[in-house]
Symmetry: C2
Subunit: 212 residues, 2 copies
């Protein structure tokens, strides 16, 4: 959306960011496969090879788009996390876990293309470990999840021996649900039902962690 009309000047002036923005738009519309180098230049109104002044190749562009998608996810979750009201250690811990899960799935449902792009792994490019992209607070979703789970233990609702690798368990549940909804057999589930089931997924995780 950055530049649909023809440019006046020979130089674009801000082509790198403009290409990135176009790439993000493509990812939003169609996921990682839709991030096509020629199409991004077309959208910006520039010749295809101009992109090579700003990205080494198509993979580099896609990686930048993926990073941006991950950062957007991080920001969304961060906002939910920060909005949690004060309360007992236990209630805050529970609210934190719920915020991370809810934000994660909501982002996936709102922006399926970006979500898929965020977790797309190029064979050619080693990415920094996924979900390590952080929000404005500098905390990644994984870090926020860790904070929540540590608080579970600290507030006494989760036995310490269950704590190791608990991130993976919680993450698996919301990640799987998100993908079943956007890509998979649950893709016909209406949004309001998906939101309701999201809460039940989190209920299940919570109960699984806190069960005696």
């Amino acid at each position: 959306m950055s530049e649909t009309r023809a440019r006046q000047t020979y130089h674009h002036g801000d082509l790198g960011p403009a290409l990135l923005a176009a790439g993000i738009e493509l990812a939003r519309e169609g996921g990682p496969d839709a991030v096509v180098l020629r199409e991004t230049t077309r959208r910006v109104g520039v010749s295809p090879n101009a992109a090579y002044r700003h990205f080494a190749d198509r993979d580099a562009l896609l990686a930048a788009v993926s990073d941006a998608a991950l950062a957007t996810l991080a920001t969304a979750i961060d906002a939910l996390f920060d909005a949690i009201p004060q309360g007992t250690r236990e209630s805050v811990a529970r609210a934190q876990l719920r915020a991370v899960g809810t934000g994660y799935v909501a982002f996936a449902l709102d922006e399926p293309g970006l979500f898929r792009t965020a977790f797309f792994v190029s064979d050619n490019l080693e990415r920094s470990s996924a979900a390590s992209k952080s929000g404005p607070s500098g905390r990644s979703p994984l870090e926020l999840l860790t904070v929540a789970l540590d608080a579970y233990v600290a507030s006494g609702i989760m036995p310490a021996d269950r704590r190791p690798k608990a991130e993976f368990l919680a993450w698996s549940s919301v990640h799987g649900f998100a993908l079943l909804c956007i890509d998979g057999p649950l893709r016909t589930l209406p949004r309001d039902q998906a939101d309701a089931v999201t809460q039940r997924v989190i209920d299940m995780v919570e109960a699984g962690f806190t069960a005696p």
Copy 2:
């Protein structure tokens, strides 16, 4: 693997199944994107257009491959399910849920390409609702999961009001874990650890369902 050497006869004699087998092999090696019509004919040793005698187009071939992948998954889970020893209703119910989850993740880790192909959704082609492909017993993974969860309620370890949509909750957890392992941030997790965490995922689901 069906026909690497050149044919003697003009007619292949069994081209449809041979193409399907080659397509499955490609899916196994590289997922849905690797199911390339020309490559399947190349592997079978036949000209590209010969495929059109047996499949309407590339999408039809891919759909057939995807169905086959789904059936393989169903068969694997079915075998685990049938191997469950007799016991109390409760112990059988728990073993059933564990069998479905374990089989599901094991298949994903053993055959990531087939797993991804099984759940690939073509835009052009409406698939029968995923995981509805059944194993030799005629029961799909989703049906087996339903059986297990019904047994949870019947044996009294799961409150009936938790039963609706519980399939989605359990499915999400194992599906998400499988994808994090094969596609995502957990792809570097060694297999033995992945197997161990799989059991903990199932522990969590179980505790979530049966918690007081």
